[in-house]
Symmetry: C2
Subunit: 343 residues, 2 copies
């Protein structure tokens, strides 16, 4: 197939639900974007059958690329990288590398996706390590970009600095915030707090005129809109994001059990239940937004492993937006500019 | 004054509200514990005046120890340590050191309290660094102890191991859980995940028969009761705890604004508002429980800087419980036992 204006590869077999989520999401996406072409990577027989069940086979916007393997959620990244070269995930990444598509989307095993994407696509010049970035909800105003959410466990000051630059580009290009406020996540706002890497990264950012660096913020300010971009290492970001999920569940469980306790409140359960569902969706970024793997020579969007049709569709939309805004090229340009400025 | 059976020193001047919170909490505490003696550290004239206003001066359970300085929330720990030797915080810690009291409670500057407590009280044998530990709410069952919440930024594997032992002793002695389940907070449950320190700490804990080590848990399982004790370094613990506060606020703001949006729900605001307040208190451990600074040769309980009377009273109760259960001696015994076992 020739590359067209807007073509994405989808890993159809990834995630807990596989084609049961990814097929309906793909069908919704081609309705939403009439110019969009999708290359569906996975088991051809199964995908054909599913598409026929939906009454949409053949379809001019949909193309199947057969693959024989599936990366499971339990596969170790290193093993997946070595032994699953014909998996739907790997085939989708190879299509990005070959320029047949402009981006790929997967709900599969995060560790395997990071390892494969890093291996297949390689890093942009000036970027040492990839980062997972996601837009989190804020109390009011624009969402907040946070990175890294788990791609790179140990980050030195230079890596944190590069993450800050990449996060700023994402906030500018994808959300459209001019001069986004960039902060480092720390355990206090005072200059003396935190690890040596964070203190050094803070100095690098303070010296950089291209970044609107506002200093340190603490965990309780992640959602207040104080910063547009929040930078931390992958370990801290992953723990913080998953802790959010834990707190949201704790609050909603308590809410539900409290409703059971009160006879009066029980009467209004019909009113409160849909609200709870919306609330949970609104504050659970891990489930309802895709995370982008950035710093690579190509666009890779990761949907949650437990992604529903809506979540996978939202990840496809995000990939479309990043293609339209040419995010990797913008990151590359900005990094070159910043590094020349520093030199 | 001679030491009596149960005597605590209170830093009356610490925290955002100073005597306005600490005096009412002290008065409630002596009613609750008739055998309790309190040494109130702070400005004598101010404390006397406040006690007279409450109609309880003199009182056989209350003793004032005058101090001329106050550690402010903005003071750098190193500066407070050098130049505030007659502060209410330092005087309270000195009383613990001299054996005139069995524990002290402060709502003051956390960093200064950690630095001063470390300097004045010194570490227990076998413990390299202090840890802040707090009991967090769980979805059901017992609360969960998490440490370190910010005392020690960088922890090597041995320090994490010692924290695990100390956390287990707290869960056994203070909550009364037999063989508490101990977990390391990590970015995945698989053995290959995480930093080198965490992997080594995991090996040390797996080899230790005295600890019921259950492996890694992720941030979304902090509140599920999967573990009774959760161990991490001070940076990660601090970010996780403060992120909880941020999420709780985000959810409740959204809840309130959603109520405004729905005319029907507005009618039931009177019903929901008190619930929100309770919910917030229940899920905001930072505000409603004291954190204990453990690993030292004395008991130090830290109440939140913004502590209300109830929060400070809860910190006093916690100090009483730790005195009764002789927590530092139990930690020392357990560590000796574990280290002999390892040798």
């Amino acid at each position: 197939m020739q590359p067209t204006k807007l073509t994405l590869a989808l890993d159809m077999m990834g995630g807990d639900h596989g084609p049961h989520s990814t097929i309906p999401a793909a069908l919704a996406a081609i309705c939403e974007f009439p110019e969009l072409n999708l290359i569906l990577c996975g088991d051809e027989a199964m995908l054909t059958e599913q598409l026929k069940l939906h009454g949409v086979f053949p379809h001019p916007q949909l193309h199947i690329r057969h693959s024989t393997q599936i990366v499971s959620m339990a596969d170790k990244p290193s093993v997946a990288l070595r032994s699953k070269r014909d998996s739907s995930m790997r085939v989708a990444l190879d299509l990005v590398d070959k320029g047949e598509v402009q981006a790929c989307v997967s709900a599969g095993n995060t560790g395997a996706l990071i390892a494969m994407a890093h291996f297949v696509l390689k890093m942009l010049n000036g970027v040492d390590r990839p980062a997972l970035i996601s837009a989190l909800p804020a109390v009011e105003g624009n969402p907040v970009y946070m990175l890294d959410l788990g791609a790179t466990v140990n980050c030195d000051a230079d890596t944190l600095f590069q993450f800050a630059v990449m996060g700023a580009v994402m906030a500018e290009e994808v959300i459209g915030i001019s001069q986004p406020k960039v902060a480092l996540l720390n355990m206090g706002e005072e200059e003396i707090k935190g690890s040596d890497q964070i203190k050094r990264a803070s100095m690098l950012l303070s010296d950089c005129n291209d970044i609107n660096y506002i200093g340190y913020i603490e965990g309780n300010d992640i959602f207040t809109g104080k910063a547009d971009v929040i930078v931390c290492d992958g370990f801290v970001g992953n723990v913080a994001l998953k802790t959010c999920e834990g707190v949201a569940k704790l609050i909603l469980r308590r809410f539900e059990s409290s409703i059971k306790d009160r006879v009066t409140a029980q009467l209004f359960g019909w009113l409160i239940k849909p609200f709870i569902k919306n609330l949970y969706q609104g504050v659970n970024p891990d489930h309802y937004n895709g995370a982008s793997l950035i710093g690579l020579r190509g666009i890779v969007v990761k949907s949650h492993g437990n992604a529903t049709k809506d979540a996978f569709l939202s990840a496809i939309r995000q990939a479309v937006r990043e293609v339209e805004r040419q995010v990797p090229a913008k990151i590359k340009d900005r990094l070159e500019h910043v590094l020349i400025d520093k030199a």
